[in-house]
Subunit: 341 residues, 2 copies
DNA sequence: AAATCTGTTGCACGCGCGTGCAAATGGCGT
DNA sequence: ACGCCATTTGCACGCGCGTGCAACAGATTT
């Protein structure tokens, strides 16, 4: 494919220079016309834009980024695609980022040990920030990446982290889980069981710890719990089956508090269809995230909704700030009571 | 933030030149060391890599792309995040693309009229190809974009399209829907109802047309059908409720054939919980895509699975080909019978 | 009418790397 | 030790745009 530089027409890779010639201005004026708050007279801008239009000129963000050392690109690292909430988060994030002029590089963290490569991938594109939505925190990996200063910002979204090199934008898990615990208690449940997700290094003060300690503080006993190796309904089914499968009715919990909806959904399926128990009469269930499926008559899940839009707006604010302060922030969401508890 | 060029240490933006100096070779040798099939001696490569390692050098893909006119970047345009199958597709695509060295720009097509802007967005990053997974085909928009030659390739994934400027990688809808129709017929259903998704311009020979005509060819009558404005369970619920809500039992269809699982899932919920009918005894349901939820005991959906991995592999092949032939290809998937039909 | 100011335009240099070819290097046989 | 060949290395130029400042024009003042 031969490139005919300088030629007009759709074949040519038309640059700002071409537009400049066509509009009778300098190349810099052309680029100015495309910049938001550039000092340029309306007349010139119109003239330039018209020429650009007819030539089919589109500014090259690679070159812009190279020259300005700012890419307006973020990498979104995702690893647990089995969790339906990821779809919601991706929609919200890409929507709001795009509205503010940020593009998103979607990086699939293929497996547990791939985070390092994924980060490397992102850094090769010189993204301005990396956003982690998933469970792949290996503090060492993050620390190494951060130490190499390959990103200006490393943001953990919708998940708390105590990692000091990291910006965490999340819901206040302690407040949220406390609210759930109190709700469960107020509804009269007395034998809770906590279904947790995979344990990551950074997760102190997690939802599980909060629930257990809150419950213990009230009743003196620490509830049972189990851990699912991934936020995946299928895997939750397996764990719940294993744990509650052949337990006599007398020893069954009366409420299953799940770390999030992905787990709760799997749990509901097992409880109802494998154990043959009623929800909430025999066992109640709570989730977290308020994924779309929670609304389904099959689940009607009592859950907790994170203020995703607000969080994403704040994320943009963080991205666009050049300060060096501590950006960590915890939002409060709201409990969404439904029939499952 | 001052940049101290030339300085070593994590603060500096270390370039190939720095590594070259450190390793005692030329800059070009450094870049060669990072290129896959470059002619370079193992010893030199090791030396370079070691220096790169200690300096923390990461090649800059922006500059590489700028110089080579090849970005190894594709834009993934998505507009219907309500469809859970999108999550599956995104996982598979990003996984396989990344394995082959391609990065993915995720672009949320915000609303119906935004496709043009989304394409513009992609073209500013000089992506090598645009992949559409969604319903946003406005033939005019696509034609305009294609005419401007802003992308080397415009690929419509998992959806057939007759658009000549476009590469369609999809399942063979005619074969698939024929198989479903025959299955439904063989199981003895006689009063089918087709639940279709939004009508797009490019969708001739769609699943709906195939099913209807196949049925008519056998029984002489064209089944009923209805259209849901989006692939969204919630909207499917509304349409099914409206259409079947207060219909006497005698006039109820005995099978609801849905264009995909997103619709089928909404339909199942309504049929079972609003209409109080049994599945499949009163009404059977079929879907398309085999999303993870289909496995749930709440759905046990008879559906059709696309060979996504195979399709994605072919996609990579298309991306890496420099030929100019017709790349359109239809794959055959497999019917997944479950209890819903 | 000259001087001043404000807003607008032009430009040298650099961002980091790829291409394609020329030069250099090393290994081998005689 | 010489020459041949295969492999390895070096380099001039360009990719398209941003930065920061200097030059300029038109509007305003004295």
């Amino acid at each position: 494919m031969t490139q005919h530089r300088g030629k007009t027409g759709p074949d040519a890779n038309v640059t700002a220079d071409d537009v400049a010639t066509a509009a009778g201005v300098s190349r810099w004026t052309v680029n100015r016309a495309f910049k938001k708050d550039a000092s340029i007279s309306p007349r010139t801008r119109d003239k330039v834009m018209e020429a650009a239009q007819t030539l089919g000129y589109v500014p090259d963000l690679r070159a812009a980024s190279l020259a300005s050392d700012r890419s307006n690109l973020v990498a979104l690292l995702v690893d647990d695609f089995a969790n339906p909430h990821k779809l919601v988060m991706m929609e919200r994030l890409t929507r709001i980022l795009r509205k503010h002029g940020w593009d998103t590089l979607l990086v699939n963290t293929l497996d547990r040990d791939d985070t390092g490569h994924a980060l490397l991938n992102a850094s090769q594109r010189r993204v301005d920030a990396v956003i982690l939505i998933g469970i792949q925190f290996d503090d060492e990996t993050l620390a190494a990446a951060q130490h190499a200063r390959r990103f200006r910002k490393l943001i953990i979204f919708a998940r708390t982290s105590q990692n000091p090199d990291t910006i965490s934008i999340a819901v206040d898990d302690v407040a949220a889980m406390t609210e759930i615990a109190d709700y469960v208690r107020a509804r009269g449940y007395r034998r809770p069981f906590f279904l947790a997700g995979p344990r990551t290094v950074s997760a102190h003060l997690s939802r599980k710890e909060t629930f257990l300690s809150r419950w213990k503080a009230h009743f003196g006993t620490e509830p049972e719990s189990a851990e699912v190796p991934a936020y995946d309904p299928i895997q939750a089914e397996a764990v719940v089956t294993a744990v509650l499968g052949n337990r006599p009715r007398s020893e069954m919990p009366d409420v299953l508090v799940c770390e999030n909806d992905a787990l709760a959904i799997g749990a509901v399926d097992v409880i109802r269809h494998k154990l043959g128990l009623r929800i909430p009469e025999d066992i109640a269930v709570t989730g977290f995230d308020d994924v779309p499926q929670c609304r389904s008559p099959n689940y009607r899940l009592t859950t907790y909704r994170q203020p995703l839009t607000e969080m994403a707006d704040y994320l943009v604010e963080v991205l666009e700030s050049s300060e060096e302060r501590d950006f960590d922030r915890a939002f409060t969401g709201c409990l969404v009571p439904r029939e499952s508890a």
